[in-house]
């Protein structure tokens, strides 16, 4: 029972947030420094402090922040934590890339619908956002903001990217709450799943971009923005413009298929066991596959009325699971625990 614990035990319980290798190295020292910061030297006061006081929330937060930095490790961290740190950073960059490509698509649609840059009149089948009004304006601003978030993150301006990302997810939440309160909910679970899985979770996971995090490979990530648009949304836009988009999967299905395709492209590297860093990419793709799969599963509930759509969705899930299974062993190897190197020389 927590009520029976003294200050020292309570603090040791907080320290359990930290990885084992780190506790082994620093726990006793941290406890000694923590108790020093509380004790007064007066035996009566100290007995009361040790019995009744609890670690303050800022103190707990500082340990939690340290734990996040250690679990999502940088170079020098044990292999498992470095692999997780790199995989989460790459997965976050990939999700931000998806947002940026979507933002680019909105800009292209807007430019086309307004016939900017000498573009011809768009076909009637092309869906465009009607101009004017508060929400469409906010929608455009947010989409441009995601492009800026992705670019600043890829360039290593982590703090700016984090602040902009937090601002970018707020309008989405406001729109969802408004729809919830006014009863306008065409698909009850899909929009919430998108907001949680592709907005809230990756923005929270931006914690992985701490000051020790190694910089991302800037050029490949920046080139992935136009490449991603041309390879994915270019053909989609063309299909929509020609009125032949009826057979295309919905957005959660497309996420599943893209994640499955990325896994399949990576399979030769994952199976070669020779390629440097393939395991971290396998872990990244497994994480992305898990997010896409969760999105698909949650949005299934929006299709209960249509057995055909349910079957199609399950087929997409199956393809994703099969592709992810091909890289999963390599992902598991990447996070295989190795003992931490003794960074602090021992005394004596």
């Amino acid at each position: 029972m927590s009520g029976d614990l003294g200050l020292e035990q309570r603090y040791r319980r907080v320290l359990r947030l930290l990885p084992g290798y780190y506790r082994q190295r620093w726990e006793e020292d941290m406890v000694a420094a923590f108790l020093d910061s509380w004790l007064t030297g007066d035996p009566e006061d100290d007995d009361a402090i040790l019995e009744f006081c609890k670690p303050t929330w800022p103190e707990v937060a500082s340990v939690a922040g340290l734990a996040a930095r250690l679990y999502l490790g940088a170079a020098g961290a044990p292999r498992r934590y470095f692999a997780w740190g790199q995989a989460v950073r790459r997965a976050v960059l990939a999700v931000m890339l998806v947002h940026a490509v979507l933002g680019l698509e909105v800009l292209v649609r807007t430019a086309w619908s307004r016939r900017l840059f000498g573009l011809p009149a768009p076909p009637a089948s092309l869906v465009t956002l009607s101009p004017g009004g508060v929400w469409p304006t906010v929608y455009h601003v947010v989409n441009v903001a995601w492009i800026v978030v992705f670019v600043t993150l890829a360039l290593g301006h982590y703090r700016t990217a984090r602040v902009l990302a937090v601002l970018a997810i707020v309008p989405g939440l406001a729109a969802l709450l408004q729809a919830q309160l006014t009863g306008i909910r065409p698909a009850p679970f899909g929009p919430w799943a998108w907001w949680v899985l592709f907005n809230l979770v990756p923005v929270a996971a931006m914690t992985a971009f701490h000051r020790d995090a190694p910089p991302a490979a800037r050029l490949p990530w920046l080139l992935a923005l136009p490449a991603g648009y041309l390879l994915v949304f270019g053909p989609l836009l063309a299909l929509e413009a020609t009125g032949s988009s009826a057979w295309l999967p919905d957005w959660p299905g497309l996420c599943c298929l893209l994640a499955a395709l990325a896994c399949l492209v990576h399979v030769p590297r994952a199976w070669s066991r020779q390629a440097d860093g393939s395991g971290v990419w396998s872990l990244t793709l497994t994480l992305l596959g898990a997010v896409a799969g969760a999105y698909r599963i949650i949005t299934l509930s929006d299709y209960w009325h249509d057995p055909h759509l349910i079957k199609v969705s399950l087929a997409e899930l199956l393809m994703l699971a099969a592709a992810a299974a091909l890289v999963a062993p390599d992902a598991a190897r990447a996070q295989a625990a190795t003992p931490a190197s003794p960074l602090l020389p021992s005394l004596g």
Partner: protein, 110 residues
């Protein structure tokens, strides 16, 4: 170098200190502006130890527990001197741009 790391190295510049001793020294050096939590302190100490800028000095028993003292390494002393010079140079530029250098500024300030 982060502000916290700079203060921690400075706290160790005149001799070894234990964890809470560093916290107190940093608070005093920063005139109360930097109050390190223990989690933050050991994040900084771990990073500085990994970079070879500090190392354990000794352990002393205190109230039934061992206090571990840390000291600057040769690299740590050099890194701190370089950072101090860099910060001093920046401060000189700022003071010059604000017109806070020279006797006139000193007189106006007084």
């Amino acid at each position: 170098m982060t502000g916290q790391a700079f203060f921690v190295l400075t706290a160790l510049a005149d001799g070894p200190r234990h964890g809470y001793g560093i916290v107190r020294e940093v608070e005093e050096l920063s005139q109360g502006r930097v109050k390190l939590k223990i989690g933050s302190l050991y994040g900084v100490l771990d990073r500085l130890a990994t970079e070879g800028l500090i190392e354990p000095d000794r352990e002393e028993p205190h109230d039934g527990r061992l206090r571990r003292y840390y000291r600057l390494t040769r690299d740590g002393r050099r890194a701190l001197a370089e950072e101090a010079e860099l910060r001093a140079a920046t401060a000189r530029v700022v003071r010059a741009r604000l017109g806070l250098t020279g006797p006139a500024a000193a007189g106006a300030a007084g």
